[in-house]
């Protein structure tokens, strides 16, 4: 079960207050009429489905009802960061892989982990 930090409410709340809304950062084609069937189908239906770091949209459904983004690992389910709408993630798949590589240096790891808004699994 997730314990999620809502960046608008400024506190950790239980998973049940939230709804996952799928992949984040999908922008509607600027000129929908001009898109081909391929592009339109891709926009509607095709999603990244990574086994690893994933950026996703969540809504604080029974809280402030605002949408925000979470970067989460889809195997360990660890929440790596939470950020507001319009912001860009600071942790990406490449960044995460590099960080895991350097994990032997414990100090670095602890320092960088402290920076994340921690969403531990209860």
């Amino acid at each position: 079960m997730f314990y999620i930090f809502c960046p608008y409410c400024g506190e950790h709340r239980e998973e049940e207050e939230f709804h996952p809304k799928g992949q984040a950062h999908i922008s509607r084609p600027a000129d929908p009429e001009a898109t081909s069937d391929e592009e339109w189908g891709d926009y509607l239906f095709f999603r990244d489905n990574p086994r690893g770091v994933h950026h996703e949209l969540w809504v604080h459904a029974v809280g402030c009802r605002k949408f925000f983004n979470i970067t989460r690992h889809t195997v360990s389910y660890e929440i790596l960061e939470v950020y507001k709408m319009g912001e860009q993630p600071s942790i990406t798949a490449e960044h995460y892989a590099a960080q895991q590589g350097a994990a032997s240096a414990d100090k670095e790891r602890n320092a960088s982990q402290a920076k994340h808004q921690e969403g531990v699994r209860a």
């Binding site: 189908g41 891709d42 239906f45 999603r47 489905n49 889809t74 360990s76």
Partner: protein, 416 residues
């Protein structure tokens, strides 16, 4: 292959059952095959079996990362039915149902297919309209089905709360008598043994790490046990299909979610059918051992972890206790999760890809088990002939760009 029979059982009893043959070989991979199936679950093994038996392609390898039938085949709740709304999916699932009916004899393996019927319960007027529409559509497609009222449901399932006082009163149900349950592990083992006997190589603990593709044509796979070549590769990897597709440079419209299920402690026989409810969102049956087999919805977030969140378990059990107050004090024994690859239209993908010779059979989402024989059969036909089987054709990946979706969210209903 050592044939199983009642006589064999008696014979082996005399030697304390110590001399049974192994059910399948553990071969070392050859350099090349005619066809490679990636994924040794029910669908993959069924594909290999029908390739060898019906289409004469016996130089086949099934490559499995873990052990046979260790993924969703071992994690589902074993419900088999074919009462889907649209012609395309009804044809596919009914094709499977007909194969289920002769499966134990066909593969000489008792898959314990028990046609105990499935009830899809309705709790609102709209539920009942949808049920009537679906049952009518089923009958036009030659699939058995009846619409029952609350009294009819109560007669079939005396322990269910069908009173007017229920929070969501039961108004009726659709009833498919030919539906039922089967032993999931036996399905994988049975197909594995039968395929092996026909010469198929089952390669366990062998992980595909990439595809060998030249000029848009697949000619083999990289594995942790070396490269294996084949000009036809069928990928049947359920929750991991998106990851496999990415290795081949293909994007699939799939999202992988955890789907949880649980079983109770064994109790005396109380429920001799399968009850599913879209509205209160849960379903239940009782296994031959006596445990109640329970499931409901997926966890909403993407996940490959084969586990989910507790609130989902709680909602599932709320739904069950709502329908069956008698179970309120039954204790749960085990709980687990599988990774289901859900498609936007709740229908599978059986398709060629832009890479020649590379086929995908995936996207079964929450209800793939029931289709195991049919999926394997039509996919085998497609791989053998290089042309999609007529039943599989509508399930092409192109439908997400042409718009010819097959919306089965209603009949797929509760995730199961």
């Amino acid at each position: 292959m050592q044939r199983y029979s009642g006589f064999g059982l008696v014979k082996h009893a005399l030697s304390h059952h110590e001399n049974w043959e192994r059910q399948w070989r553990n071969p070392t991979p050859k350099k090349a095959y005619d066809v490679i199936i990636v994924g040794g679950g029910g669908h993959g093994l069924a594909t290999a079996y029908y390739l060898a038996k019906e289409f004469g392609v016996t130089n086949v390898a099934v490559i499995e990362k873990g052990w046979l039938g260790g993924g969703n085949t071992a994690r589902n709740t074993t419900i088999v039915r074919s009462n889907y709304l649209w012609d395309e999916s009804a044809a596919l699932y009914e094709h499977a149902m007909k194969l289920w009916e002769g499966l134990s004899q066909d593969i000489n393996y008792n898959v314990m297919f028990s046609q105990r019927g499935v009830l899809n319960v309705g709790h609102t007027l709209q539920d009942m309209r949808d049920i009537q529409r679906r049952v009518n559509a089923n009958r036009l497609n030659g699939i058995d089905g009846e619409v029952l009222d609350a009294k009819g449901v109560q007669e079939l399932v005396p322990i269910m709360d069908c009173s007017k006082n229920a929070r969501y009163p039961v108004m009726g149900a659709s009833w498919q008598p030919r539906a039922g349950v089967a032993r999931h592990d036996a399905v994988a083992w049975g197909y594995a043994r039968a395929a092996d006997a026909l010469g198929v190589d089952l390669l366990q603990n062998t992980e595909v790490t990439g595809f060998k593709i030249r000029d848009g044509q697949v000619y083999g796979v990289h594995t942790n046990r070396g490269d294996i070549e084949a000009k036809t590769v069928g990928c049947v990897t359920a929750g991991n299909s998106g990851v496999m597709a990415k290795m081949a440079g293909i994007k699939l419209p799939l999202e992988s979610h955890p789907l949880q299920a649980l079983v109770s402690e064994p109790i005396k026989p109380v429920l001799d059918t399968v009850v599913m409810s879209n509205h209160v969102h849960g379903y239940i049956s009782q296994s031959d051992k006596g445990d109640l087999v329970i499931g409901a919805g997926i966890d909403g977030y993407n996940g490959y972890g084969q586990r989910g969140s507790y609130p989902t378990v709680e909602h599932t059990l709320q739904a069950i206790v709502e329908m069956f107050p008698i179970f309120s004090r039954v204790r749960m024994n085990r709980q687990w999760g599988g990774i289901v690859d859900t498609c936007p239209d709740a229908c599978p993908i059986l398709s060629k890809t832009k890479v020649k010779g590379l086929y995908f059979n995936c996207g079964w989402g929450t209800g793939g088990f029931k289709a195991t024989p049919g999926s394997g059969h039509v996919f085998a036909a497609s791989l053998a002939k290089g042309e999609m089987h007529p039943i599989a054709k509508p399930f092409s990946i192109d439908r997400f760009n042409t718009g010819a979706l097959i919306d089965e969210h209603g009949a797929a209903g509760v995730a199961h």
